[in-house]
Amino acid sequence: MIALILRDIRLGVRSGGSGLIGVLFFLSVVAVTPFAIGPNLNLLAQIGPAILWIGALLASLLGLDRLFQIDLEDGSLDVLVLARHDQPLALTVFAKCVAHWLITGLPLVIAAPLFGILLNMPLEATAATTATLLVGTPAITFIGAMGASVTATLPRGGLLVSVIVLPFVIPVLIFGVQAALGATVAGTPFLQPFLFLSAMTLFFSVLGPLAASFALRQLEG
């Protein structure tokens, strides 16, 4: 499994750095927000966590079709699926998700505090938002695995993956922003939504790879 993770990381970094594109898209969302909303610094600080979450979410969604694409193109996806007699396919998918998150999700988490400055967010808000992103972006990857697997063979699967995954990712977004706001807005809790968010990540870490392995097996025909 470790070998698979390392291989995927090497492949992902080599082939066009989807992590960088994700961060650039994240930056675009964060950068246009002040132009759209106006330079009201207080307002920006207030909605800062939400904007960071939206940017990170969209950037993650865009990167999802890369999850299986490289392997599909060179045929190694079939090899991985066939190898399920040695190692459960769900574990294989889990490993791919871990690698994918390290390449696309983690850069977003690292970039978040820097972008928080652009939105005039106070330190506690930035810290809380980064923490929620750290816990929540893996959930997006895991449930995205399900979406990517059912659309793996489609020509324009990338767009469809976002549409499919969106309903599942909405609760993650809700709790992520709630937790982030809980750290700054008086009277709203931080721990409860944060725990919910963590629970969701754990839940999807099981459901996503399981569903994806099931879907990938169907590709065998």
């Binding site: 399900m146 979406g147 697997s149 059912v150 659309t151 489609l154 324009r156 699967g157 469809l160 549409v163 499919i164 969106l166 309903p167 599942f168 909405i170 609760p171 809700i174 459901l207 569903a211 099931f214 879907a215 169907q218 025909g221």
Partner: protein
């Protein structure tokens, strides 16, 4: 590859319907009854609803309940029908299971849309707002998005047989939303009112309102089954048409000499 239409080995229960031709024959007989029953139930239900007493607090707007609540029930019920059909696709490999899902998706989306719109129209005079992002409304909205996603996925692939299993998996993964919708009003502090019909302690609605509501609910259910059956028949016919066109094209390429007068036919 040709798992789409196959003859059953044991002709009992659902496997008896596995043969599309038998399904077409049976459904042709049953469907008129379903439509009639649906019209009857909904007609009676609506008349009774309009004669039911106005709500003490809400006045006449409570009458929206008689469309809003049944459509909400249907939104979830249709999804459960799709979930069972999805099991049929993946586990039992029932040939008509995928046809069932395909026919059900637009119906479920429509009921969800009716639920959302009538709910919004009820919320405006009642709560003073067209929409609020509380747990119940958000989860029903998410359900609507799921219907659209399944719809998109099924039609993204040209061959419906290939699309069957991915779509079934998507349906089953989304089932977790249904209990969330159901219990959202209990688990969270929502603007939407808590459950008042299907509760452990029994319904809290007065019988004079409960009965027309239930009749409308059953009427909507029968209506769904009638529309579902019609949709399945359409889908089966459509697949036959496509099969025949492909066979016709193959015939023509195999025997080029016979392609004389064709009147711009199967192309």
């Amino acid at each position: 590859m040709s798992e789409a239409i196959s003859a059953p080995h044991k002709p009992t229960g659902l496997t008896a319907l596995a043969n599309p031709t038998r399904f077409m024959a049976l459904s042709a007989k049953i469907m008129p009854w379903l439509w009639t029953l649906a019209a009857l139930l909904i007609g009676v239900g609506l008349v009774w609803a309009w004669n039911a007493p106005e709500d003490y607090q809400q006045g006449i707007t409570v009458r929206i309940m008689y469309v809003h609540v049944p459509s909400a029930w249907m939104a979830m019920f249709v999804y459960m029908v799709m979930a069972v059909s999805a099991l049929g696709v993946l586990i039992w490999r029932h040939p008509l299971a995928d046809v069932s899902i395909r026919a059900a998706v637009p119906l479920g989306a429509a009921f969800t849309l009716i639920c959302l719109v009538t709910g919004s129209l009820w919320g405006r005079p009642m709560w003073g707002t067209w929409w609020v992002w509380d747990a119940r409304l958000t989860s029903v909205f998410v359900l609507f998005l799921m219907y659209l996603g399944i719809f998109a996925l099924q039609r993204a692939m040209d061959d419906p047989v290939k699309a069957a299993r991915p779509a079934a998996i998507l349906v089953l993964v989304g089932v977790i939303n249904i209990p969330i919708i159901r219990f959202s009003v209990d688990w969270w502090n929502t603007l939407h009112q808590p459950a008042s019909v299907i509760r452990l302690d029994g319904p809290t609605i007065h019988p004079t309102m409960l009965w027309p509501l239930l009749i409308c609910g059953v009427g909507f259910t029968v209506l769904f089954f009638a529309m579902h059956m019609l949709g399945m028949r359409n889908e089966i016919r459509q697949r036959r048409i496509e099969g025949m066109r492909r066979a016709g094209a193959r015939e023509k390429t195999a025997q080029p000499m016979r392609v004389v007068v064709d009147e711009g036919g199967a192309s």
